[in-house]
Subunit: 141 residues, 2 copies
């Protein structure tokens, strides 16, 4: 175990905090992330196609889905990340805030910012997650 522990340390990297502009840049480039919310069984995570306007995060869900029910109102978070398994490196950005159901008229004006679902089916539940706190970290090899 000692030898393995020593070898392990050779490849370990340092975690550094990302500044807010870097977090916002990564969010702006991203088309898919993960939303975390509580249902009756505790916290769950599910991928969604989210977009940001630089402040909040928007995504669309299917009416009647578990995620839509859980996200009706309340605290939630949205995470994006990227990893390099070979270099054992990566980064992540976390947005935490309140989820609210909105109507399409409440969306930001820029069409390109709209979340476009990759999955088929009507997705008429529009959610806005307020970006109360935005933080990020990078693991550098």
């Amino acid at each position: 175990m000692r030898l393995i522990d020593e070898a392990e340390k050779l490849f370990q990297g340092e975690i550094v905090e990302l500044a807010r502009p870097e977090c916002l840049r990564l969010l702006a480039q991203s088309r898919v992330g993960r939303v975390a919310v509580n249902d009756a069984d505790g916290p769950l995570v599910a991928p969604v196609n989210g977009r940001t306007d630089g402040v909040d995060v928007y995504f669309r869900l299917r009416e009647g889905s578990l995620l839509a029910a859980a996200l009706a109102d309340g605290r939630a978070s949205y995470e994006i990340d990227g990893f390099d398994e070979f270099r054992q490196a990566g980064w992540s950005v976390l947005v935490r805030g309140d989820a609210h159901r909105i109507s399409p008229e409440d969306l930001p004006e820029h069409r390109s910012e709209w979340p476009r679902p990759w999955a088929a089916g009507e997705r008429d539940v529009w959610i806005r997650l307020s970006g109360d706190t935005i933080s990020g970290r990078r693991l550098q090899p």
Copy 2:
């Protein structure tokens, strides 16, 4: 808006449920995932190096970290996924259960199954997340 909606549908894929053996296979191959847990500010998501023994998920955290405090005991979930932005396809697996702090002696016997953190620093908080429910989905283009 109508034209954009029509174009959007051309590229949308179908979501199918993954069978449990497929979920377990993906979990066994994975070295990094995301844990979701609640702290005082609601649900949060953070990447961790997790490993599974086919039933539960194990990972190591830094003593005193926010994640370690939030994960002391209670409901949590672990998610892995993979996306192909070009094909707008992807998959995800979600493990939901109870998080418990364990001692290294409680780990499964197979050494190769141990979670090896990519990040430096002592990570003496060992967590086992019971795999109460394991589910997965694939979005095929």
